[in-house]
């Protein structure tokens, strides 16, 4: 086990390459598996047929005997769903890394700090306004989620700010309070909503899942993820110094205020766009960075790319699990991640003795 850790640490780029391959395989398997299992060959054929179709060369792949319903399942249901799962997994893992760097605490995470609830309140509010005044649509819901999460991040960070800076214990307590407040508002809206559809959608925001994923959900997040990974890799050294404490960071030459502002923007963007397409999915940002640190240590140069890749793979498989665990009913993904993440959170406090000092 130690040997593996050492090898991964020494050859991080190679590991990333291997994980990239694993991600591709996961995408294909993720598309193939479900209440209707589709042969892998057909998945490849349909995917490439449609991808070539985008550049007007669909005829290069012959679909032959594959039924049209299968084609529809692959291209319109499963493909966007799996890809969205991967993107959301990566961005939640990254925002976990970002918040942990900001708070110097490995227990910080968008869901734990109440940011996700803020985002879903924003989304539900935007939806409600959209129902009353029929304008906006999907974009306004995403914007609502973004504003909601940005406001809750700022609110949580400012309320947690005391004379000694942001102490983790205050941060978590404030996070709990903000989270409850936002959930209460969301619940109130859901119960008094004038519109049946609004209720159903609001429940979706609170539990989280990829069941209604469409191709239109993908562009914003996919445009965001790479710049965020690059920005966080570029900040790897300052982030490492910040983990040693504020004074350490300042005296090692880090522009603390600038890095913190960038971190707030990045985590707000990633969390809010994720929540706006998938609802509240908790603990991914906690589980993934923690496991990776256990293997390669806390250096952000390795942690950031590995967290993005592993987050994506993890989420794709959890979503597969959500489809398979209780057929034909689908379990919301947020329930499954909580089943895995919450015990891990407790384990980190009890066994690893992480504290909110």
């Amino acid at each position: 086990m130690k040997k593996i850790c050492r090898a991964v640490k020494a050859h991080t780029p190679l590991t990333c390459l291997i994980l990239g391959g694993a991600l591709l395989v996961s995408v294909v398997l993720g598309i193939a598996l479900g209440s209707v299992t589709i042969p892998f060959v057909d998945v490849w054929k349909i995917m490439f047929h449609n991808l070539f179709g985008l550049v007007g060369r669909a005829e290069m792949i012959d679909l032959g005997e594959i039924r049209e319903s299968t084609q529809n399942i692959v291209w319109f249901l499963r493909a966007p769903r799996v890809l969205l799962g991967g993107l959301v997994g990566a961005s939640l893992a990254l925002s976990g890394v970002g918040m942990q760097a900001f708070t110097k605490n490995p227990l910080a995470e968008p869901y734990v700090l109440g940011i996700s609830s803020g985002a879903s309140l924003g989304a539900v509010l935007a939806m409600l306004v959209g129902v009353i005044l029929p304008l906006g649509g999907k974009l306004s819901i995403s914007a609502g989620a973004f504003i909601g999460s940005l406001l809750s991040i700022i609110l949580v960070y400012t309320l947690a700010l005391s004379r000694d800076g942001i102490t983790p214990i205050r941060l978590v307590l404030v996070g709990v309070a903000i989270s409850s407040l936002c959930s209460a508002c969301t619940n109130y809206i859901v119960y008094t909503a004038p519109h049946e559809a609004a209720v159903r959608e609001a429940t979706f925001w609170m539990l989280g899942g990829f069941g209604s994923a469409k191709w239109e959900d993908l562009p914003v997040l996919s445009a965001l993820i790479l710049p965020c990974v690059i920005a966080m890799c570029a900040m790897a050294k300052p982030l490492n110094a910040m983990m040693m404490g504020d004074s350490s960071a300042v005296t090692l030459g880090v522009n603390l205020n600038l890095i913190r502002k960038i971190l707030i923007v990045i985590t707000a963007l990633l969390t809010s766009t994720s929540v706006s397409v998938s609802g509240c999915i908790g603990f991914v940002g906690l589980v993934i960075p923690h496991l990776i640190r256990a293997v390669v240590g806390p250096d952000h140069k390795r942690l950031v790319p590995l967290a993005a890749l592993c987050g994506a793979i993890f989420m794709i498989w959890v979503d597969v699990g959500a489809r398979l665990v209780h057929p034909p009913t689908e379990i919301p993904v947020g329930i499954l991640t909580a089943f895995m993440g919450a015990p891990m959170f407790l384990w980190m406090i009890k066994v690893r003795r992480y504290e909110f000092k």
Partner: protein
């Protein structure tokens, strides 16, 4: 090297520093002493930019420190801070390598030169055997040595130590001061233990209630009358065979 004039700092209505004047010349080992709450650490925090003075001037090598970026400061001055806890377990080698980052551009990687330097410092501070250990698994004395090694990796002429011997037992206190003394760098250190200060410092500043109440060589500052006035303790002060002062505290 470093010159502060009329530095004032306070939190809300409470004034912690009431106009501190301070200077260090090249090659000097200057100690800052004073009772608890005298403002030693607060003054140093103003010097290393963790706190911002309400008024006053601080010049580092002739340039205005308050206008300087943290990066520029870190290229000129290394600090051993009081923080020694982290929930994230960097290895000793990684922690020391952090000392190099003020000299790196965005996305620039550690090169062979950095690694060779870190290796030399590991040998110099006798940390070679610990280099792959996690920082948080070390003892207090070892951690402090690592933080000194990190400061050395910054390769600056000026070294600031903020209460470096706190929580260390006497062996490590002496070992640490010895390591620093042998560097022949310019050093400013806030020191709690008066005997330690007398042994190693060329010049002392005594602080009380945010004011400088004494400055000079240990012989000039650490008199029996001074100790009674400042710390309200009776003491006998002798000169040892090595020419350094020995302070003995007496009852009542």
């Amino acid at each position: 090297m470093l010159k502060a004039s009329r530095v004032v700092y306070g939190v809300r209505e409470k004034q912690i520093l009431n106009g501190i004047d301070f200077y260090v010349n090249k090659g000097e080992f200057v100690g800052i002493i004073g009772p608890n709450g005298s403002g030693k650490s607060t003054f140093l925090k103003n010097v290393y930019k963790v706190l911002k003075p309400q008024s006053g001037e601080i010049a580092l090598m002739g340039e205005d420190l308050l206008e300087m970026s943290n990066r520029e400061m870190a290229q000129r001055m290394a600090v051993v801070v009081q923080e020694r806890e982290s929930s994230f377990d960097f290895t000793v080698e990684e922690v020391i390598m952090m000392g190099r980052q003020a000299r790196k551009r965005l996305l620039e990687r550690d090169d062979d030169e950095d690694r060779a330097l870190v290796r030399r410092i590991l040998e110099q501070t006798q940390l070679l055997d610990l280099r792959e250990r996690g920082f948080s698994t070390l003892s207090g004395g070892e951690k402090q040595r690592v933080l000194i090694a990190r400061a050395l990796a910054q390769q600056t002429e000026l070294l600031i130590l903020d209460e470096p011997t706190n929580h260390l037992d006497i062996k490590y206190q002496l070992q640490l001061m010895e390591t620093v003394k042998r560097l022949n760098a310019t050093v400013v250190a806030a020191i709690h233990d008066l005997n330690l200060a007398a042994l190693y410092c060329d010049r002392l500043y005594a602080l009380k209630d945010g004011r400088v109440i004494g400055m000079g060589t240990p012989q000039q500052v650490l008199t029996e009358a001074f100790l009674y006035d400042t710390y309200e303790v009776r003491a006998e002060v002798y000169t040892g065979p090595d020419g350094c002062l020995r302070i003995f505290f007496t009852r009542g």
